[in-house]
C-alpha cells in the first residue's frame, strides 16, 4: 500500500467515523443542555459547591461566573505548581519557577495548552493529574457552555435569562466529556498508550547500555486532551511520542477525538434552533475550508521544498515513520483547524507552505471546525458578520435566525472579530523588535519570523501548537504570551455572552421574502468567503514576510 493510498483510506475511515457519531452525539449534547433533570452525581456537585442549579442567570452573571471560575482556576493551578515539592509523585522535579507557572496556568485554563516547559523534567504526576487533567476537562466545558448560552440567545425571546453557567459547566463535564474520555482512555491503553504512576522504566538494551524511558499517567489525559481540543502533551514530544500515540490506529483515533465534538456541535445547534439545515450549513463551511487546507498541507509535505528536504529526498524531518507523511498532514491540519494544538509531527519542520497552512488555520480564528464550543460561537459570530455584510449590500436591517442584528449585536460581533488579531499583532510586533528575540529563535530569516508569528497566533487563538524551536522561557515571552492567551480567550467570551444577552432580549422576527436565506449553498459561499477574506485582509502582510516568503524562496 502506498503512502497516498493509506492516507486516503485513513481519511475515508475518519470521515465515516465522524458521520456515524454526528447524529447521536449531536442530539445527545442538545438533550444535555435542555434537560430539566439533574443526575444524582450532579446534585452532589451542586450541594457540595452550594450553588442553586434551578436558578437562571442573565448574561452579566453568566459572564461573571466564567471570569470568576477562570480566575480561581489560574490561581489554583499556579499555586499547585509552586508547591510541587510538597506533593506526592513529584520525583524531585522541584517548584516550577513563577513566570513558567503563570504561563502554564493561563495556558491550561484558557484551553490553549501552550507548553513552555519540558514535562518529563518539570512536572510530576500530581500536578499533571490534579492540575492539568482537571483543566483539560473544565476549560473545554467552559467553551461548550458559552456556545450553548449563545445558541439560547437565538432560541429564546424576550428574556434576560441565558441559563445557569454552573449547570452548563457541570453537565458538559459529567454527561459528555467524562464518560467519553473514560471509554477512550481505556481504548488507548488497549492500543498501547501508557497509563503508569511510576516515573520511568529501566532496561538494558542489547548492546549492554542502560536506559530509562519516562512513564506517566498518559492515557487518561490523552483522551481528554484530544476530546476537549486541549492539546497539552504529558510528554515533550506530545502526540509524536510513541507512549502517547503508538500507532497509525491510535493516530487516527486521536484525530477523530479532536474533531468529533466541534463537528457534532453543528448538529446540536441545528437541533436547538429547530432547523437542522442551519447546522448543516455551518458544517459545510467548516468542512470545505478544512478539506481545502488539508489538500494544500498534504500536497506541500509530499513535495519537498527547501534545501535540507531536497537533499534528504522527502519532508521526513520531524515526522514519525508509523504515521507516514499523510497521517502527519491529516493530524497537523486537524489540530490547527480545531484549537487543539497537539502535534504528531514537528510543525517547525513543516515546509514553508505546509507550516503557513497550519498557521492560517489558526488565523481563521479557529472555526474549521474550531475548539469545543469555541469553534461554534466563533463561526456564529462570523455568520453574523456575513449576514451584516450582505445586509449592507442591499441596505436592509439584517436578520439571522429570526433575530435582528442591530448596532449592539454587530458591535459585539466586531469586538470578537477584532480581539484576536489585535492581541496577536501587537504581541508579535513587539516581540519582533524585542532585543532578546533574535537569540531565542532556532531558525533564521523568513522562518525565524514565522516562529514568532506562529507563537503569537497560537497563543491568541488558544491553539497551543508551536514552531517549537523558539525558546520562550524568558520572562518577556512567558508573560506576553500568557496575556495573549488570556485576552484572546476572555475578550471574545465576554462579547459573545453580551451578544447572547441582547439576542435573547429580542422577540423573534418572522422571516419575510426579504430575509437572506441562511440554509442554502449561497450562504455557504458567503460565509466561507467571509471567513477567508477577513483572515486574508488582516494577515496577508505578516504572512508574506514569513511562510509565503519561505515557500517562494
Amino acid at each position: 500500500m502506498t503512502d497516498t493510498t493509506a492516507g486516503l483510506l485513513q481519511l475515508g475511515v475518519l470521515l465515516l467515523a465522524l458521520a456515524v457519531a454526528y447524529k447521536p452525539l449531536g442530539d445527545h449534547m442538545a438533550r444535555v443542555f435542555t434537560s430539566d433533570r439533574h443526575l444524582r452525581v450532579e446534585r452532589g456537585v451542586y450541594a457540595a459547591a452550594r450553588v442553586d442549579p434551578d436558578s437562571e442567570q442573565n448574561w452579566g452573571t453568566y459572564a461573571r461566573g466564567v471570569l470568576g471560575f477562570s480566575f480561581v482556576s489560574i490561581l489554583f493551578l499556579y499555586l499547585l505548581q509552586r508547591i510541587q515539592p510538597w506533593l506526592p509523585m513529584d520525583f524531585g522535579r522541584g517548584a516550577v519557577e513563577p513566570s513558567m507557572a503563570f504561563n502554564t496556568a493561563v495556558s491550561f485554563v484558557t484551553n490553549t495548552n501552550w507548553q513552555s516547559y519540558v514535562p518529563e523534567t518539570v512536572l510530576g504526576h500530581s500536578v499533571q493529574l490534579v492540575g492539568l487533567t482537571v483543566q483539560n476537562f473544565v476549560s473545554a466545558a467552559v467553551g461548550l457552555a458559552v456556545a450553548i448560552a449563545l445558541i439560547r440567545g437565538f432560541t429564546r425571546s424576550r428574556t434576560d435569562r441565558l441559563g445557569n453557567f454552573w449547570v452548563d459547566l457541570v453537565r458538559g463535564v459529567v454527561r459528555i466529556l467524562l464518560p467519553l474520555s473514560f471509554v477512550f482512555a481505556i481504548v488507548l491503553v488497549a492500543l498501547g498508550v501508557v497509563m503508569s504512576l511510576r516515573s520511568g522504566v529501566d532496561y538494558t538494551t542489547l548492546d549492554g547500555a542502560g536506559h530509562t524511558s519516562a512513564l506517566a499517567p498518559a492515557a487518561s489525559q490523552e483522551a481528554i486532551k484530544e476530546l476537549g481540543t486541549n492539546g497539552g502533551g504529558i510528554f515533550n514530544a506530545n502526540s509524536a511520542h510513541p507512549f502517547e500515540n503508538p500507532s497509525a490506529w491510535t493516530n487516527l483515533l486521536e484525530i477523530f477525538l479532536l474533531l468529533v465534538i466541534p463537528v457534532s456541535l453543528t448538529r446540536t445547534f441545528g437541533t436547538l434552533v429547530g432547523d437542522r439545515r442551519q447546522g448543516t450549513v455551518l458544517l459545510a463551511v467548516m468542512g470545505t475550508i478544512w478539506a481545502g487546507m488539508l489538500a494544500v498541507l498534504w500536497w506541500a509535505e509530499t513535495h519537498p521544498n527547501g534545501p535540507a528536504a531536497l537533499v534528504a529526498g522527502a519532508s521526513t524531518e520531524g515526522k514519525e515513520v508509523r504515521f507516514g507523511i499523510a497521517g502527519s498532514a491529516l493530524f497537523a491540519n486537524s489540530t490547527t483547524g480545531t484549537s487543539t494544538g497537539a502535534v504528531n509531527s514537528t510543525h517547525d519542520s513543516l515546509s514553508g507552505l505546509g507550516g503557513g497552512t497550519a498557521m492560517l488555520n489558526m488565523l481563521f480564528g479557529e472555526m474549521t471546525p474550531g475548539g469545543v464550543g469555541t469553534g461554534m460561537y466563533s463561526i456564529l459570530v462570523m455568520a453574523i458578520i456575513a449576514v451584516f455584510l450582505a445586509g449592507l449590500m442591499v441596505g436592509r436591517t439584517p436578520e439571522y435566525l429570526g433575530k435582528k442584528l442591530g448596532r449592539r449585536e454587530v458591535t459585539a460581533a466586531a469586538i470578537v472579530l477584532l480581539a484576536m488579531p489585535t492581541v496577536l499583532l501587537v504581541g508579535a510586533g513587539i516581540a519582533a523588535v524585542h532585543p532578546g528575540t533574535a537569540a531565542a529563535l532556532n531558525n533564521s530569516g523568513a522562518h525565524g519570523l514565522s516562529e514568532i508569528l506562529y507563537a503569537y497566533a497560537s497563543a491568541s487563538n488558544n491553539n497551543g501548537s508551536a514552531f517549537a524551536g523558539i525558546t520562550v522561557t524568558s520572562d518577556w515571552f512567558q508573560s506576553s504570551l500568557g496575556l495573549c492567551m488570556l485576552f484572546g480567550r476572555l475578550i471574545p467570551i465576554i462579547a459573545v455572552l453580551c451578544l447572547a444577552g441582547s439576542l435573547a432580549a429580542q422577540r423573534k422576527t418572522p422571516a419575510t421574502a426579504g430575509t437572506l436565506p441562511t440554509t442554502g449553498p449561497l450562504f455557504v459561499g458567503l460565509l466561507s468567503g467571509t471567513v477567508v477574506l477577513v483572515a486574508a485582509l488582516t494577515f496577508v502582510p505578516a504572512l508574506a514576510l514569513g511562510p509565503i516568503a519561505e515557500a517562494l524562496a
Binding site: 471570569l67 523534567t121 487533567t133 547500555a209 514530544a237 534545501p307 517547525d348
Partner: protein, 193 residues
C-alpha cells in the same frame, strides 16, 4: 462587584469538587482498569524482555552502539536529536536551515560508508530525525539497505534477514520495528553477538 465576588467563591467551590471528580477519581479509575491483565503490559510501557531481562520497549527506538564499529551487527534506528531516552524532542529546524542541511548531508555520507553503498541510495528517513527522537520504526527501504551488512556480521543468510524485515513490517505506512527485528536476527544467529 459583590456579584463577581459571589461568582468567584462559587467558582472555587465548583473547581474543588470537579478536581476531585476529574483529577482524582477519573484518572484513578482508568489506572485501576488498566491493572487488568492484557492492559497492564501496555500501561507500563510495553517492555520487551528476553530471558526475564528487560531489553527495551516495543514503542521506544534506541539506537544500538556496536562494540566494534568495523563489525556492526545491528539494524539502526533513525537519527535522533535527543541525548537520552528520559526525554523526547526534535530538531525543530526548517528545510531552509543551514545546520539541518549539513546534518542531512553528513548523515547521508556516514550511512553510505557504513553500508558500503552509493550515498544516493540512502533513503530520507535514514538522514532525518523524527519528531519524538524515539521513533521505534524505520522504512523498509532503510532496513533493506542495512540487510547485507547485518547478514555479513551475524552470519545469517541475507535472504533470511530480508524475510525477517518483511515479517516485522507493519501498519498503514509500512514501518519496520527495529528492536523486534534485531531480536529476530539475533535469534536466527543463535543468540550470540
Amino acid at each position: 462587584m459583590t456579584s463577581l465576588f459571589r461568582q468567584t467563591t462559587a467558582g472555587l467551590r465548583v473547581l474543588l469538587v470537579l478536581t476531585v471528580l476529574t483529577g482524582v477519581l477519573y484518572p484513578l479509575s482508568v489506572w485501576l482498569v488498566t491493572r487488568l491483565p492484557g492492559l497492564q503490559h501496555h500501561a507500563e510501557g510495553s517492555v520487551v524482555s528476553v530471558d526475564g531481562r528487560a531489553v527495551g520497549s516495543d514503542l521506544i527506538g534506541v539506537d544500538l552502539v556496536p562494540a566494534d564499529p568495523a563489525h556492526d551487527p545491528w539494524f539502526h534506528t533513525r537519527p535522533s536529536t535527543i541525548t537520552d531516552t528520559t526525554t523526547s524532542g526534535a530538531s525543530n529546524k526548517g528545510a531552509g536551515d543551514a545546520d539541518l542541511l549539513s546534518a542531512v548531508a553528513e548523515r547521508r555520507e556516514t550511512v553510505a560508508r557504513r553500508e558500503g553503498v552509493d550515498p544516493a541510495e540512502v533513503p530520507a528517513d535514514a538522514v532525518t530525525a523524527s519528531a519524538s527522537g524515539l521513533d521505534p520504526h524505520i522504512s523498509p527501504a532503510y532496513a533493506d539497505l542495512q540487510a547485507p551488512r547485518v547478514a555479513r556480521e551475524t552470519g545469517v543468510p541475507v535472504e533470511t534477514v530480508r524475510g525477517l524485515i518483511r515479517e516485522h513490517t507493519t501498519g498503514w505506512f509500512s514501518a519496520v520495528d527495529v528492536l523486534r527485528l534485531n531480536l529476530a536476527v539475533r535469534a536466527a544467529a543463535g543468540g550470540a553477538n
